[in-house]
C-alpha cells in the first residue's frame, strides 16, 4: 500500500476496562480519492478521524500505523503534528453551531488559519479571506467576515468552517458528518460546494457519515464500520448493489425505502443482522 493515507491495524483504547474504540482498522486512501466512512454512533468513525488528525485525548492509547505521504503519524510529538494540521490535512466538524469561536468575528477566525503559518500579512490576509468567503458561495463576504458566528445560519457557518479547512489547500480533508446538523436543502448546497472544492483542489477526502445517500453522492469508495471494526469496504456502487456483510445489507435495505411495498412494515437492520450473533 502506498497511498496518500495508509492506515494499518489501527487500535485505539480508552482505559483497560472499556471495550476498544477501534479494533485494528486498516484502509488506504489515494491522492484525490474520496472514501466514505459509514457506521452508526459509537462505531468508531470519529475516533478514526481524530486518530488520523492526532487529536485524540491524552487518555487514548493508540497502536498500529497511520502514514501520511509515507510519514508515520502514530507517536508523532504534538508540535510536529501541529505543523501538519491545517496544511497537510484539514478537518470539517459535525456541528457548525459550536465549531466556531463565539467571541471572534468570522473573518478573523478564517484569517487565524492563514496567520498561523506566518507567511501572510494582515492586509493580504483580509483580501484572501474575502476571496475565500466568496469562493464558498457568500455574495456579501464583507458582511460575513465582520459577523459573529451566532449571527449566521447553520449552513452559512458550515461554509465558513469549510473555508477554514481548505484555506491552506491541504491534500487530505476529513469531513466528520459535515451535513448532519443541516436541513436537507442546505445539506445539498454544502455537499455541492464540497464536491466543487474537492474537484478543484484535487484533495483526497475521508468523509464520515451515517447517511448512505450522502456518502454515495460524494464518495467513490466506502467503508462500513461496526463496533470498531471495518466489516466491509469497496466501491460505493458495489456496496450498494451487492452488500456482502449482513449489517451492510441491513443498512442498504433501510436506506432504499423506494423498494418497500406501500402498506408493508419498513425494514430494520435487525431483520438482516443480529448483534448477538456478531461476536
Amino acid at each position: 500500500m502506498n497511498g496518500l493515507l495508509d492506515v494499518a491495524d489501527l487500535r485505539v483504547e480508552f482505559g483497560r476496562h472499556r471495550a476498544p474504540a477501534l479494533r485494528g482498522v486498516s484502509f488506504s486512501l489515494q491522492a484525490g480519492q474520496r472514501l466514505g466512512l459509514i457506521g452508526e454512533s459509537g462505531s468508531g468513525k470519529t475516533v478514526t478521524a481524530l486518530a488520523v488528525m492526532g487529536l485524540l485525548p491524552e487518555t487514548a492509547r493508540v497502536s498500529g500505523s497511520v502514514r501520511l505521504d509515507g510519514r508515520e503519524l502514530v507517536g508523532l510529538p504534538d508540535a510536529q503534528f501541529s505543523d501538519l494540521r491545517g496544511v497537510a490535512m484539514g478537518m470539517v466538524f459535525q456541528e457548525p453551531m459550536t465549531a466556531l469561536d463565539p467571541t471572534m468575528r468570522v473573518g478573523r477566525q478564517v484569517a487565524e488559519v492563514a496567520l498561523l503559518r506566518g507567511r501572510a500579512t494582515r492586509g493580504d490576509t483580509r483580501t484572501n479571506v474575502l476571496q475565500l468567503l466568496t469562493r464558498v458561495g457568500f455574495v456579501d463576504p464583507e458582511r460575513i467576515a465582520d459577523a459573529y458566528p451566532h449571527q449566521l445560519s447553520g449552513g452559512q457557518r458550515q461554509r465558513v468552517v469549510l473555508a477554514m479547512a481548505v484555506f491552506n489547500r491541504p491534500g487530505l480533508i476529513i469531513c466528520d458528518e459535515p451535513t448532519t446538523a443541516l436541513d436537507v436543502t442546505v445539506q445539498a448546497r454544502v455537499l455541492d460546494l464540497l464536491d466543487e472544492i474537492l474537484g478543484e483542489s484535487g484533495a483526497a477526502c475521508l468523509f464520515i457519515s451515517h447517511d448512505l445517500a450522502v456518502v454515495s453522492r460524494v464518495c467513490s469508495h466506502a467503508m462500513v464500520m461496526l463496533d470498531g471494526d471495518v466489516v466491509e469496504s469497496g466501491p460505493v456502487s458495489q456496496i450498494f448493489a451487492a452488500p456482502r456483510h449482513p449489517y451492510t445489507q441491513g443498512l442498504v435495505a433501510t436506506a432504499r425505502l423506494d423498494l418497500v411495498t406501500p402498506g408493508e412494515r419498513l425494514p430494520t437492520i435487525e431483520d438482516y443482522f443480529r448483534r448477538e450473533d456478531f461476536r
Binding site: L55, R85, A99, L100, D101, H150
Partner: protein
C-alpha cells in the same frame, strides 16, 4: 434595561475614583486636621457632611478615604488576576499532575483567610495600605484560579477548540486567541465581585487597625471612630457606611454591565 447597570455602576465607580483623584490635589479641609472647637458639627456650611468627634471635616475624610479604596482594590484585584488567571488556565491546559499540584496549592491558600494573611503581613513588615492590599489579593488568588480553570476546561472541551487544533493552532496560541476571550466574561464578573469584596475587606482591616496606619483617613477607621459616638451621633457611621455601600454596589454593577457588553452573545439579546 441592561445598560442601566452599566450606567449606574459607571457613575458610582467614577464618583469614587474622582473623589480619590481630586483629594490628591485638593480637599475642602485638611482630612487629618484636628479642630477641638468644631467637634460633631451637623451637616451644613462650610462642613457639608459636618465634622467628626475630633472636629475633622467628614467630607474631606471621605474624599481621602476614596483614594485608599481605589488603591487597595486595584492592587488586590490586579494581583489576584495576574497570578490567579494564568494559574487556572495553566492548570486546565496542563498534564494531570501539574494541574493537581496547582489546584491543591490553591486549596491550601484558600484555607488562609485574608484576615489571617493581613495579621501575618502586618506582624512581619508593619501594617500599611499595601500589606492589606497584598493580603486581600493573595487571599483572592485561589478564587480566580478556580474560576479560570473551570471556565478554561469548558472552553477546552468545545468544538471550536478542537477545530482550532485541527487547523494547526499550538496550545499556547489557542490559549491566547480562544481561551482568554471566552473566559473573559466570567473573569470580569469575578474581578468586579472581588473588587467589591476587597473594598469591604479593607474597611474591615482598617477598622481593626491592620491596614492603613493613622492618621491617614480610611472609611473603615471612620466607622471605628463613629463607634464611640454611635448613640449620640449615628450619622457619623452613616457617611462612611454609605460610601462603602455605594462603592461596592458600583463595582458590582459595573462588572455585570461590562460582562454584558463584552460578550457578543449577550450584547445582541438586549
Amino acid at each position: 434595561m441592561r445598560w442601566i447597570n452599566l450606567v449606574l455602576g459607571t457613575v458610582l465607580v467614577a464618583g469614587v475614583i474622582l473623589l480619590g483623584l481630586v483629594s490628591l490635589a485638593w480637599t475642602p479641609f485638611d482630612p487629618t486636621l484636628v479642630v477641638p472647637g468644631e467637634r460633631l458639627q451637623p451637616p451644613g456650611w462650610p462642613h457639608i457632611l459636618g465634622t467628626d468627634a475630633f472636629g475633622i471635616d467628614v467630607f474631606s475624610r471621605i474624599m481621602a478615604g476614596a483614594r485608599v479604596v481605589v488603591q487597595v482594590g486595584v492592587v488586590a484585584v490586579g494581583l489576584a488576576l495576574l497570578v490567579g488567571v494564568p494559574l487556572g488556565v495553566a492548570a486546565a491546559m496542563s498534564h494531570r499532575w501539574l494541574s493537581d499540584l496547582i489546584m491543591r496549592g490553591a486549596d491550601i491558600l484558600y484555607a488562609f483567610p485574608a484576615l489571617l494573611l493581613a495579621i501575618l503581613l502586618a506582624a512581619a513588615v508593619g501594617a500599611s495600605t499595601m500589606t492589606a492590599a497584598v493580603a486581600i489579593g493573595v487571599a483572592s488568588v485561589p478564587a480566580f484560579a478556580r474560576v479560570a480553570r473551570a471556565a478554561t476546561l469548558q472552553v477546552m472541551s468545545s468544538d471550536y477548540m478542537l477545530a482550532a487544533r485541527a487547523a494547526g493552532t499550538s496550545p499556547l496560541a489557542a490559549a491566547v486567541t480562544h481561551v482568554l476571550p471566552n473566559i473573559a466574561a466570567v473573569i470580569w464578573v469575578q474581578a468586579s465581585a472581588s473588587f467589591g469584596m476587597a473594598i469591604l475587606a479593607e474597611a474591615g482591616l482598617s477598622y481593626l487597625g491592620l491596614a492603613t496606619p493613622p492618621p491617614a483617613p480610611t472609611w473603615g477607621r471612620m466607622l471605628r471612630d463613629a463607634q464611640n459616638v454611635i448613640f449620640s451621633n449615628p450619622e457619623q457611621a452613616l457617611w462612611p457606611g454609605l460610601a462603602i455601600a455605594a462603592a461596592v454596589l458600583g463595582f458590582n454593577l459595573l462588572g455585570d454591565g461590562l460582562r454584558d457588553q463584552l460578550d457578543p452573545r449577550l450584547r445582541d439579546i438586549s
